[in-house]
């Protein structure tokens, strides 16, 4: 296996009595798009800043491409950062901004000019080399910040919620662009965000953080489909969380006494939470035959909400109120307030999390 681009072991950071990062072990594979995802204050930005060298860890070791960087200042680390506010130098032209890192590394002026031009072309700003940052739009400033960092060919590119300041349309376009850029240049991207959609769409791997700890690391699908904790299940996407009791390795009992198939791995009798995505639910008429092997629970529709492409149903069941999401297909059967129905889902879509 290739050496990880960044390896954190036992890294913590205390500010006074507060542990912003409370012991993290993490290997970030080389050449991929890795996202640190979590709510604000979860320690993801502090982790990024420790890798960049703006903060020093209280304990633990940080290695970049196998080299310990623990107490090295930022200028002596082979990483570059795209800041949330871009941090473009307002008194320099776009070109001078992008050339700054090369100039500091004493790259020859002919080579530097060539690399700056190439970096600006890469972000489609070749024509704005002489402009000041203030003359550019938010999206363009964002691209300059990317070019300014990538021109140095860092071992890892650190991105601190760089899309936060852009409007929705531009943000979505930039998500695709960032991912394509990463694949093209092959540099490891470490992306910090609180936006689960950003993390899911762009990343090869995601690390979910909360309260200074790393809760789960995996590819987007495994994070979304198989959360291992109640926090991860709840934080990423919409999800129904139902209290349940484990019966055996393949069965849980929901509130109201109905049994459901699930993959538990927990000892019989333990109190757990069952997590099911709304889109995994299907609604059937009470007298319809349902697919064999499916879980079922009878309920009454409390509300139907129209979203254009989908309908959301709130269904009251003995196990609690659940939310089901149905695609707006032609000929789809609609249920209204008070209609009896059967909520159906497969055992594989039933994730059991502790707590």
């Amino acid at each position: 296996m290739r050496e990880p681009a960044v390896a954190l072991s036992g890294v913590s950071k205390h500010f006074g009595d507060v542990a912003a990062v409370a012991g993290i072990d993490l290997d970030i594979p080389d050449g991929g798009f890795f996202s640190l995802l979590g709510p604000s204050g979860c320690g993801k930005t502090t982790t990024l800043r420790m890798i960049a060298g703006f903060e020093f860890p209280t304990t633990g070791s940080i290695r970049i491409k196998g080299v310990e960087v623990g107490l090295e200042p930022p200028n002596r680390r082979p990483v570059n950062t795209v800041f949330q506010s871009y941090a473009l130098f307002p008194h320099m032209t776009v070109e001078a901004n992008v050339a700054f890192g090369l100039q500091m590394k004493k790259v020859g002026s002919a080579e530097a000019a060539q690399r700056v031009a190439r970096a600006l072309d890469m972000v489609q700003l070749g024509g704005r080399a002489g402009a000041r940052p203030a003359q550019l739009s938010g999206g363009q400033q964002q691209r300059v910040a990317l070019a300014r960092a990538l021109v140095n060919e860092p071992a890892v590119l650190l991105l601190d919620e760089p899309l936060g300041a852009l409007d929705l349309k531009l943000r979505q376009a930039m998500q695709v662009e960032l991912k394509e850029l990463q694949e093209r240049v092959g540099i490891t991207f470490l992306y910090v965000t609180h936006d689960q959609e950003e993390a899911l769409t762009m990343s090869d791997r995601i690390g979910v953080m909360n309260e200074g700890r790393l809760l789960q690391v995996g590819d987007p699908q495994s994070i979304y489909e198989h959360p291992t904790s109640r926090f991860v299940a709840d934080f990423i996407g919409d999800i129904n969380l139902l209290p349940a009791t484990v019966i055996d390795r393949e069965t849980v009992e929901l509130m109201g006494g109905s049994k459901a198939g699930a993959i538990t791995g927990e000892p019989s009798g333990s109190k757990v939470t069952v997590a099911i995505r709304p889109e995994r639910f299907e609604l059937f008429d009470p007298d319809e035959t349902i697919p064999a092997g499916s879980n079922r629970i009878d309920g009454t529709v409390a509300r139907r909400t129209y979203y254009g492409d989908v309908f959301y149903y709130d269904v009251d069941t003995p196990a609690g109120r659940v939310e089901a999401k149905e695609e707006n297909r032609p000929g789809v059967e609609l249920y209204g307030h008070g209609d009896p129905c059967v909520v159906v889902w497969s055992p594989e879509a039933t994730t059991v999390v502790r707590g």
Partner: protein, 294 residues
């Protein structure tokens, strides 16, 4: 049709702009009146007097306008005094800048409460009279003052600083330091420190990041502070009069001497107008340079 709507909109906007500027004028009116009475009119009088003639008894004859007083500005005496004043003003400005920048930087780097306390400390001297504070330096620097006494107690000699250019320099730096600290503080306080992190991230050492980012971005403060110190020190009168010696005549003393001692109001007026012209030219040039670098 659309054209008419557009031009109607333009007319409305134009009317709103005019109403705005009328309101602006009304708000500024008291300041205009104040400046007219206490600045423009007196300066007009000085300007007119600078073309007048001094009678043999020291009276000013307004009927006879000429450029005689201005021709005297090219006297070697004036050149000597002006050079001395200019040097002193430049040295004072540079010393103030060198002392204030680290201090302003330090203030900005502190938390809010410490920051406010330090700013109040900077402003405390303004609570007492400038004249009184300058007199205090006379006591401090005198040959039997505390500094001299400490020097003697430690086995050194008597400190003879009072009534020298050094004493004037100490007094001027002391007096005008806050005028340098405050604009520097204001410009450093507005600074986006993430830019420094950005430079560090792009392999700049701490010193290089300061030289390439912090210093250029704080130039407006450097320019404003330098002008606020340079201009009053160039024409300083009180400090040199109290702390300086008889041999260190400066522009301020010299002009006052023309009005009070030599009773040559036209020449004093011409000197004043000349000094003001130089100051104005210096300020304009300095602002231009500042605007370019910032």
């Amino acid at each position: 049709m659309t054209a008419t709507v557009e031009s109607e909109g333009d007319l409305l906007e134009e009317a709103a702009r005019r109403a705005d500027s009328r309101r602006g004028f009304l708000i500024a009116l008291p300041s205009y009146v104040y400046l007219m009475i206490f600045f423009v009119v007196p300066f007009g009088i000085v300007f007119v007097y600078s073309f007048a003639t001094r009678s043999s008894t020291g009276r000013t004859i307004l009927e006879d306008f000429n450029l005689n007083s201005y021709s005297r500005l090219f006297d070697p005496v004036v050149a000597r005094i002006a050079t001395r004043s200019l040097t002193l003003a430049v040295v004072t400005t540079v010393l103030c800048l060198m002392m204030s920048y680290p201090f302003a930087y330090y203030i900005v780097s502190r938390g809010t409460s410490v920051r406010n306390a330090l700013l109040i400390l900077v402003m405390i001297p303004f609570w007492s009279n400038f004249l009184v504070r300058t007199y205090a330096w006379r006591v401090l620097l005198g040959s039997d003052g505390p500094i001299s006494q400490i020097s003697q107690a430690l086995g050194g000699g008597e400190v003879r600083v009072l009534f020298t250019t050094t004493a004037v320099l100490i007094g001027l730096v002391y007096g005008y330091l806050p005028f340098m600290v405050l604009p520097l503080y204001a410009s450093l306080e507005r600074m986006d420190w993430q830019l420094v992190e950005g430079a560090r991230d792009l392999y700049a050492s701490g010193w290089t990041a300061f030289r390439r980012i912090t210093l250029p971005l704080s130039m407006p403060g450097v320019v404003a502070g330098s002008i606020l110190v340079f201009i009053p020190t160039l024409g300083a009168y009180v400090t040199p009069a109290l702390l300086g010696g008889a041999r260190t005549t400066l522009l301020g003393d010299y002009i006052v001497g023309q009005f009070l001692g030599a009773r040559n109001w036209p020449y004093g007026s011409a000197l004043s107008v000349g000094v003001m012209a130089v100051m104005l030219a210096a300020a304009v040039a300095y602002f231009r340079v500042g605007a370019k670098t910032a």
